[in-house]
Amino acid sequence: MKLAERYNRVNFITTIIVMVITGVIYYQAISWILTDQKDKDLEVEEQEVFDYVHLNHQLPQTFQSNDQQITFTQAKPGSVEREFINTTYYKRWDNGRHHHKGRRHRDGGEYEAGRGLVSSVTVGDKYYKILVIESKVETEDLIRLIFLITLGVILLLLLVLLAANRFILNRLWQPFYNIMQELRGFNIADNKEMPKFENNIEEFNELNEVVSVMTAKAKREYKDLKAFTENASHELLTPIAVINSKLDTLIQTENFSPVQSKLLNDLYGGVSRLNRLNQSLLLLVKIENHLLHEQEQVNLRVMVEEMISEFDEIFIDKQIKLTHTLEDKEIYANRYLVEILLSNLLRNAIRHNYAGGEIIINLSSDSLRIQNTGDPLPLTEQVFTRFHKSSGSEGSGLGLTISKQICENFGFSLQYFYIANYHTFVIGFLNQTIHLM
């Protein structure tokens, strides 16, 4: 759920709840105030009756007006308790005027909500119950009107709030999205620094700063790590060179027993692997650091042909059948890296093949495909991860990692497929146009 959505939802629900509660309270309050007002009117009327009775010792004439009725009824003394009641008010129409449409009505009149006061008065020795009723219609209309206006205002407020939130949230969160955008494009290996987004929101400034510091730190540590790998590999070169040269010198001495020769052979093999591994690591660091940046126009067809002729004898020796269809393809790349890439892929195709197997190379304007027969099981995506090796492989486990890095360096794609018993590696060139621009 998006933050804005969540925020709006919470906002909406609370606003509605608060609105309902305040609406009820508001209604009650106005109702109470207006009823109180009515009650005061009724009391004034009652007082008038009392005054009249006190003055004239008789009941006043009952009269009828549009909004007030008074009736007197004789009752048993002491039987009437003074109270305010909600009752109905029967309104007679004068001159057949038709207003208050839609109300319950009878001939010549209609019932309306009314407020009444029941009281009593003693005139001489007679005890009367007084009933004063006033129409509440106008009060209720007023309440309704006030309520509707209030509701309207609240709804409008809600709408405005929603729109404002939407706008403000988008606008306010812009720095956040900018930072996100930068983080998405963050590459630990490149030298681009995290840009500063100037804005006056403290939180975002803080976020920006923290992100800047963090990325700078990550980059620095990555750089240190790479420097370490490079230094370590470099430092290893001399001891390896010494071992190698000592072995070369050792085998010049005569008379080795078969056991000794076997041991020496194994030593050679070990040193050679150590050396390859070391060279691969150095190369990987170099590619990742983009240290090999001399690029030139390279004809891939010519390079593939050269590479094939390099391995001619091995194809014959291993009885591998090679088929190739090569179109002319010019790429803009570092020649040395392209050599390594092609040689790695071709060596793999040979190494993981069997005697009497097959290699198919296909170069077109948008891809280079190298297919080989071999183990009848497809490889996993892990082939491109460092030090991933098939069982029994004597390789460094870095060949495909290096190949992938080289491809990425040029903006190519390198993918593995298992198609109809062929292990297939495809280099896609299509990305390069983007890379060149």
Binding site: S245, Q279, I314
Partner: protein, 258 residues
């Protein structure tokens, strides 16, 4: 001063005094002898190289740091100088610059731990003859040094003669006596490699790296080297040449006159 004394003593013992000084150099080359200077600070490596190159008639001198290297270079000329780039007291590149500034004709092979194209190009641009990255096989170093000296000594007329074998280095043609021997590109390279390292056991790893480049990971199968060697021997013997290549304890091969 000690080194200087040793040097002159060395020369006296190996070069016969009946030849005028100018001829000494040519004579050494003719006898396939060479005078080299090894500038390398790593003792183990320096000693190995010295031992590998020291054989009948070859003169090997060593220097382990920048000042002693400069002292030797300013006093004596060498057929080839093996130059390590990183030295205590200075850079090998500066030594190379010094050589070139004085127009000294010595061949220079840079030995570096840095396998970067920039360094390689810089070295070659300044005037080094070749560039070899550590670690290397001594046989590879020998082959390169031999090639440099050969190029320096016989300008243009590039014939390599070994007993009945004659190799035209320009046309890349091999003859046994007068019979041409048809070798493939790799077989030809291998033959030259063997001749440069004659009398030495060359390991299979070294051969593989020489033929298929650095970092070859085909080491799991040396069969193809075996079949190459078999082919060369067959072709040479069929052309009436002696069989000079011997297998050595399953570790490698030896090209020997005997």
């Amino acid at each position: 001063l000690n080194a200087v004394k040793k040097q002159s003593a060395c020369e006296k013992s190996t070069v016969q005094t009946i030849y005028p000084k100018s001829l000494q150099h040519s004579l050494r080359i003719f006898k396939n002898q060479m005078k080299i200077l090894i500038i390398e600070d790593e003792q183990g490596l320096r000693e190995s190289i010295e031992e590998y190159f020291s054989e009948a008639g070859n003169i090997c001198e060593t220097a382990s740091d920048y000042p002693s290297a400069m002292a030797k270079i300013n006093l004596y000329r060498y057929d080839c100088i093996l130059l390590d780039v990183s030295l205590p007291g200075g850079s090998g590149i500066d030594i190379l610059k010094g050589l070139k500034a004085n127009n000294y004709p010595d061949g220079v092979l840079i030995i570096s731990a840095k396998n970067s194209l920039d360094d390689r190009l810089e070295g070659l641009n300044i005037g080094a003859d070749d560039y070899l990255v550590k670690p290397f096989h001594l046989s590879e170093l020998k082959a390169r040094v031999t090639a440099i000296i050969r190029r320096k000594s016989f300008n243009g007329s590039n014939f390599l003669v070994f007993n009945e074998l004659t190799i035209d280095l320009l046309a890349k043609e091999v003859k046994a006596g007068k019979t041409p021997v048809k070798l493939t590109r790799k077989e030809y390279a291998l033959l030259l490699y063997f001749i440069a390292n004659k009398g030495k056991v060359v390991s299979k790893n070294a051969i593989a790296e020489h033929l298929w480049g650095d970092g070859i990971d085909m080491a799991d199968n040396f069969d193809f080297i075996y079949s190459h060697i078999k082919n060369i021997r067959k072709k040479l013997v069929e052309a009436g040449c002696n069989d000079y290549i011997q297998a050595a304890y399953g570790m490698g091969y030896k090209f020997t006159e005997a």
